[in-house]
Symmetry: C2
Subunit: 504 residues, 2 copies
Amino acid sequence: MLWMPSASASRKSQEKPREIMDAAEDYAKERYGVYSMIQSQEKPDRVLVRVSDLTLHKADEVVWVRARVHTSRAKGKQCFLVLRQQQLNVQALVAVGDHASKQMVKFAANINKESIVDVEGVVRKVNQKIGSCTQQDVELHVQKIYVVSLAEPRLPLQLDDAVRPEVEGEEEGRATVNQDTRLDNRVIDLRTSTSQAVFRLQSGICHLFRETLINKGFVEIQTPKIISAASEGGANVFTVSYFKNNAYLAQSPQLYKQMCICADFEKVFCIGPVFRAEDSNTHRHLTEFVGLDIEMAFNYHYHEVVEEIADTLVQIFKGLQERFQTEIQTVNKQFPCEPFKFLEPTLRLEYCEALAMLREAEIDMGDEEDLSTPNVKLLGCLVKEKYGTDFYILDKYPLAVRPFYIMPDPRNPKQSNSYDMLMRGEEILSGAQRIHDVQLLTERALQHGIDLEKIKAYIDSFHFGAPPHASGGIGLERITMLFLGLHNVRQTSMFPRDPKRLTP
Amino acid sequence: MLWMPSASASRKSQEKPREIMDAAEDYAKERYGVYSMIQSQEKPDRVLVRVSDLTLHKADEVVWVRARVHTSRAKGKQCFLVLRQQQLNVQALVAVGDHASKQMVKFAANINKESIVDVEGVVRKVNQKIGSCTQQDVELHVQKIYVVSLAEPRLPLQLDDAVRPEVEGEEEGRATVNQDTRLDNRVIDLRTSTSQAVFRLQSGICHLFRETLINKGFVEIQTPKIISAASEGGANVFTVSYFKNNAYLAQSPQLYKQMCICADFEKVFCIGPVFRAEDSNTHRHLTEFVGLDIEMAFNYHYHEVVEEIADTLVQIFKGLQERFQTEIQTVNKQFPCEPFKFLEPTLRLEYCEALAMLREAEIDMGDEEDLSTPNVKLLGCLVKEKYGTDFYILDKYPLAVRPFYIMPDPRNPKQSNSYDMLMRGEEILSGAQRIHDVQLLTERALQHGIDLEKIKAYIDSFHFGAPPHASGGIGLERITMLFLGLHNVRQTSMFPRDPKRLTP
């Protein structure tokens, strides 16, 4: 029987429980122990019940559950365990009696936190709600308990500390966990209810993005990340040794998205890594992030594209608020934040209107000056005050602050057909009508002092008939951070990369 | 009026049509010409009808259509155009009469192939089906025609040549297009009906993969591509200059998927680029490809995972056959191929059974020998013959031919709990139960002569309780190629990367 404690089950890291198991005269000795390593020896006919299903509906049933030991507390002849499964947990009681011996209670009390166990128990209604668990109406009365995988005794961080709101930590002098400790021990930090919620919601953002775009008739494309030429002069590009030559990591899928438009795919999107060799150590910069990219041909006006993109974002916000309310509330417990507000249709401000608002707030800015980070933030506050939205479009950026391939505004040569979209006063998307005409593109590149030879492949794409088109690129980590009102993209990147961090 | 021919509309590449336009005494001169560049000057109140909607239902209606000029043929006072939109096309007739002048017919006849035009016309039923177009029952009687974007006169390849079956090319001595010409001019090659179909179907594979897994409760994760240490000794890894140090491009998301399992995400998947610095120049190797990756915790037996993965692939095959029949048939026209066959549940063969089948076919192989490419191909034929399926699982690979982190089979120490999945006699997926126990993992790494220091981050992930888990990784280009019965992954990668190709 592989499922029973056995000599072969004793592995080095598991010696302590085994010692206890070996104690003599134990009427419950078949009812607990350490499994031998699960190597797919058998396919037992056993149903494991989810912690989410442990409710009054299951009262008085005998169930098997696999979960982690979140905490354990021995108290005389009893041991209380909190068993955790992802964001949920339930109380379990091992008490000396018909099913459990003194030795079994001791065994249970000695299982290291974070170990994975299989527990058989009866679901019992409790008289008083258990405030400290998500399953408040029932507890498990344990009849059997086996260790599936034993954790080491000393954890590099405590999960309870890792979900404590900073304010509480400061005011009550209780421990919190700093960012580097979290990231150095990401496998444990990702187990917290906050991390589970953040990354489940992030998975939802990708899903909603694609779901919305596929319903709108977009085609998903895959673009290469290793490229032969560094675009726009080669600043901030990572170099790769490619057999006997050098290559580069793509800073965006732009060229490939545009080639797809010139190849008649009409509406395309892609989700993939984007690389920036920028030595920026801010709360919102990563050297590798995930881009949600859109490119779309339009008929007569780039606002056709702006409207599609803004609607896609609105569908994401709505979907998150509908489907991920539990996750939002879980994150809010640790990081309190106002619910995200948006309008339908999305507010679109022109750059000159934004300048007027800032000037009214006594910010001195030139007509063709780019917005600084603090000014964008301030503008976000002004917009929230005036229009009641955390999300808006800023249209018609000055031509002077945009790249050469952006279409000038035909009404005003100092403006461009380009836009940003902003959430809670930070940019999450940048986009524009692109120049699809070879002659104008060449003129503009020369005005920018760009070597035409270096952008030949780009320009060549437009020689054989190109539809007018416009774009948008969203940073996944930023949209997750800003939707949840978090303060650092490292909280919304599972394994962040910055100039100082490459591990784990 | 920006929509009418105007002096400002004359751009260098468009001189020829303008000359014609300027001809005097033309009663239709307002009805044709070259638009000025669409710069979002206006939002005209005009509905553009899709070519797919040009059917008998629209007979006698006046419609506007934007499409490419696929071919044009002038014949006396008439000009026949074939207008193409993605995979579809329709015949359009410009004939001297009330709406069109002699000059207008000449203008239409002179528009370069692949130019994009806006056409206003009446949909007319035809007496005899038009065999050369997808819209066979109607044609467009053109009343107005404007060039939106003019293609250069000389195309580097002809679309009709690019979709010609090779057999036809050889037997009838007609032109076909070789692979390098296609790839060098990918923007044009991607416009062919075959390419449009291949990449729309590929988008469908990604969609079906995720749809199925999200329904099964999987979470999508994003894993970093720049990593600090080259796994397994650093063979076949691309090196990246990372600020003042070196970093590497991930050969697979394995470590990160497993960390997510150890972090309680239970079932995860990701879609992303995978990099292999392998100097292989075969029909099925790329240096950068797209991996569809799965990792899943299981309860007692890794077959729980094998079944989920096999079912996911079956759902993909079914979904493709249901939703992408047009695309499959379009590709088959150029590359004839038997429909893809599969069983439910999926056939699972053990390695020893496969060896027996090969030996019966007089192939001499040792029990622990790996399968060569020709032997896998032959095995595919034998399996197809015996079981009638193009898709099967090959389980229980010899431990000797698998990496150190693969779980040995507890019943037979020479076997492992690992498997491949195969389509039409080629591997598309490799997977296994992973060792989740630190002690066994360390032992196995040492047996393989691996420096423990180099895999420390990997092993450290398992110290704090790890559920048993198993995996699968699929190559997107391979599954697309094999489902469609194509012969080279470069046909199913939009912008392929191999040791000799880095552009476009």
